[in-house]
Subunit: 160 residues, 2 copies
């Protein structure tokens, strides 16, 4: 672990994705971890529906959603996945990262108003290929709602 952020800063980023920037592959270490927390709002769900064209009523229609196994509206799974990619693209490795792949397992629903914590942890580093494997997961409270693994091409001091 090599997390140099002071505790105070980690508390300040409760509701946003900070600090932003780049950690080049030469500075990455297995076990290094970054996260963000964000409340998923009705506005987020509406905007995601517009961008994706996914207007499935389980996301948008209270009466319909009440009658599903979710017993209420839920956020689009890819909206939650977007929070994972935000940690990767903004923090770990951050700007300059090329996203190669991601696996996603949707474990539990995210509901409007839920505070989602997206966590990314370095699992493996292939310096020859500049490839980094990251464990990714999202939680609502203690419930893991999304888990998976990302593979990225990390920025390097040598190529910048």
């Amino acid at each position: 672990m090599n997390d140099k952020r002071p505790t105070q800063l980690m508390e300040h980023d409760m509701f946003d994705n900070l600090p932003r920037g780049t950690i080049v592959i030469e500075d990455l270490e297995v076990g290094m971890t970054r996260h963000l927390q964000k409340q998923v709002t009705d506005r987020d769900i509406e905007l995601f529906a517009e961008v994706s064209t996914d207007r499935n009523p389980v996301h948008l229609d209270d009466a319909y959603a009440q009658d599903t196994i979710f017993e209420g509206r839920i956020a689009h799974g890819m909206l939650t996945a977007g929070l994972v990619s935000a940690v990767i693209g903004e923090q770990l490795p951050g700007h300059g990262t090329v996203y190669l792949g991601q696996t996603l397992k949707f474990m539990a629903p995210v509901r409007p108003g839920d505070m989602v914590r997206a966590e990314v942890t370095v699992e493996a580093i292939d310096h020859a290929k500049r490839r980094v494997t990251l464990a990714t997961r999202c939680l609502v409270g203690d419930t893991v709602v999304l888990k998976g693994e990302a593979v990225v091409l990390a920025p390097s001091r040598k190529f910048d």
Copy 2:
């Protein structure tokens, strides 16, 4: 293949995700396919940045993005993935589907103004578990920009 939509309707849905609805597992067949086409706009990228909190300048800053290997701004990968989930959630199997998992390989960038075609095809059906495996891919012209596989719990006539 069991695509009963007339050619005329398939042309009409060039720019949106139609027809919407449900295909229950009893009516699914291996090889069945559905798609949407959507142009990814600057507004989409801006809205996705807001929802995800991913304001990586490769998506938003022309001058920064010009100096990257992409030589220009690109859409968030999860925005493109959202189009895949829209086909699944709206068409195949559609409303009532429970998204269990998705793999994503990002093959090539999507740029503002690109018309993305998201395609979903039934690969395997497990009637006992109500699980359906779907091949998923997105294209810009003839270039595959995203490919992967989805696993869903399909709606059933017996449970509705």
